[in-house]
Amino acid sequence: MQHSKNSINMINMNFQLNYRSVRGSFFWTFLVVFTLGLAGLFSHKALAQDAAPKDTATAAPADATATAAPAGALSADAAVIASGKEVFDANCKQCHAVHEKVVGPALKDVSVRRTVPWLINFIKYPEKVIKSGDPYAVALYNEYKQIMPNHDFLKDEQIVAILSYVQDETKKGPAVAVAAGAGAGTTTEESGGSSGLLVLTICILATLLLLAGFALAILGRSFSLSMKQNRNFNEAEKEFLDENPFEIGAVIKSRPFLGVCTLIFIALIAKTVVEGLFTVGIQQGYAPDQPIPFSHKLHAGQYKIDCKYCHGTAARGKSAGIPAANLCMNCHNKIKTGSPEIQKIYAAIEKNEPIQWVRIHNLPDLAYFNHSQHVTVAGIECQRCHGNIEEMEIVQQSSLLTMGWCIACHRETEVNTKDNPYYEDMVKLHAKNAKKPLKVEDIGGLECAKCHY
């Protein structure tokens, strides 16, 4: 009876639980549907809000331009501003910016300084306006000493759109420059951390091993003591037990221990000697300080300036060349002119003395290497030999530059014969006799006299 009652109770509880969970699930489903629905409703509302101005936007431009052009009022409408930006980028951007002087004046608040009809007239026929003696235009000419070309191909409403765009940009304020090279130096710290972790792990492991050794020694000692107390042994057995195999002095003096230690020591010395000898004559990792701390990470990495812009001779001649100071000036006549490092370029030009960059890759004179053959003919990326230059703050020699390193590449690299009539017959001849693709070694890439003469 009791049993059945219990079971009924159980069933009851089960039911209650089930009921609860069912009710719970209903509750949760409801909640989810409700929130989803709400979200949907809101997003719909948001969409509607988005859509609403669009409708007016499509209607507005014709309206705005129709009324604005003659009246000289600017539009705050998104579509007009967008069309203004387009015309501005196509015709004005190369000489004007909103917040700074480029070739012509900064256009910030230009429609506040002058009236729109005056501006339309001036943009279309600047020379005429200046010659007519308009005091503002004459003052502009005296300041900038050059006349903007006629823009009579622009329609009035296009000019109004440009001015609307300029006014919009004025309101937005100058864009904040992105901090350059903010993440520099973090990678090196990380790698240092991982090696530190390795040392720590080794230390912990060694300590554990030592502790385990001690524990084993104590255990062994107590075991032999207890053996001695409980049993009767003969002399030989007693002597064996008395002998302490873990006595440190005895261990250190023992021949096998000394032998192993000497072996490890000699092996370590041999390893250092061999590794040391292999670094003789190799300058991998040489990263000298330069007279100007030029960052390849900034120039080649962030600004994506092609290697050949500065090292153009890599494509034409034997050496990759060090750019002259006048090349720096192509950008630094305007960019970061106040920096003390950039001032060094100006000083070098004024004194007519080269900037003494320190050469990093010093290939031995006994080996001939030609950049143009590898860059122009083979079409090899600079990074293949020079490493990830675009990530280097200070450039270092990343490849070995040993003969084995050259040969390894010549063995596995296929000759770039595409669109090169020089190799035409060679490719035909090679295809006749061999099934493997034409490698550099097949055209004499391993010949001594190719590089040593």
């Binding site: 010395i269 040391g276 050469r359």
Partner: protein, 217 residues
Amino acid sequence: MLKQIFIAALTSLTLFGCAADGNYPGVEYAPQMYHTVAYDPLSQITESRTALLGIHDYYSNAVPINDYGMNPAAKVRQNMISPVAGTVARQYYTTLEMKDTVLFYDNIHKDSIDMSARLLKNPLPDNEQILAQGKTLYISYCSPCHGETGAGDGKVGEVYKGVPNYSTGRYATLNEGHIFHVITHGKNTMWPHKSLVTTEERWKIVRYVQKLQKGEN
């Protein structure tokens, strides 16, 4: 036995200093065989007698002890010196069409942009190969500012300011002579690129820029 091991350990320790690192170029096996005796244009190495055992030489701007392979006429420790005043460069070209024209194109005065636009015609043949070469050169020398499609949206251009879009407005109508002159002598914010790209290369770039003017890329 112990003494020998000690000596071996000491020798191995001295080898730790052989590897290059930072400003130190490392130890060399045969410096006088490695370093050029002829005046190599970019050579900066001078022999050092004072350095430890004389097994490595000065690479950078140390005070020279004994110069070899260094031009004594150079003002600073660098073998390249300015040519004599009045030197005329030999013409450099790879296609026959450029023969005997290089000096003419290079000596148009920088203010004669209208004359260039009126008179200069591209001497190179109009074919796919020239266009492809022009594109490669354009990507190297122009795209940092002008952008890969000529829209003036290069990464450097964004900072430098004032880079036009080739395919719009007045810029789409500029002719080959004008483009050549601008690359050679610069215009407005752009600085001359005469020393960076040869005359022939400039005409190749002009070909590709004309394609970008049409909005093709």
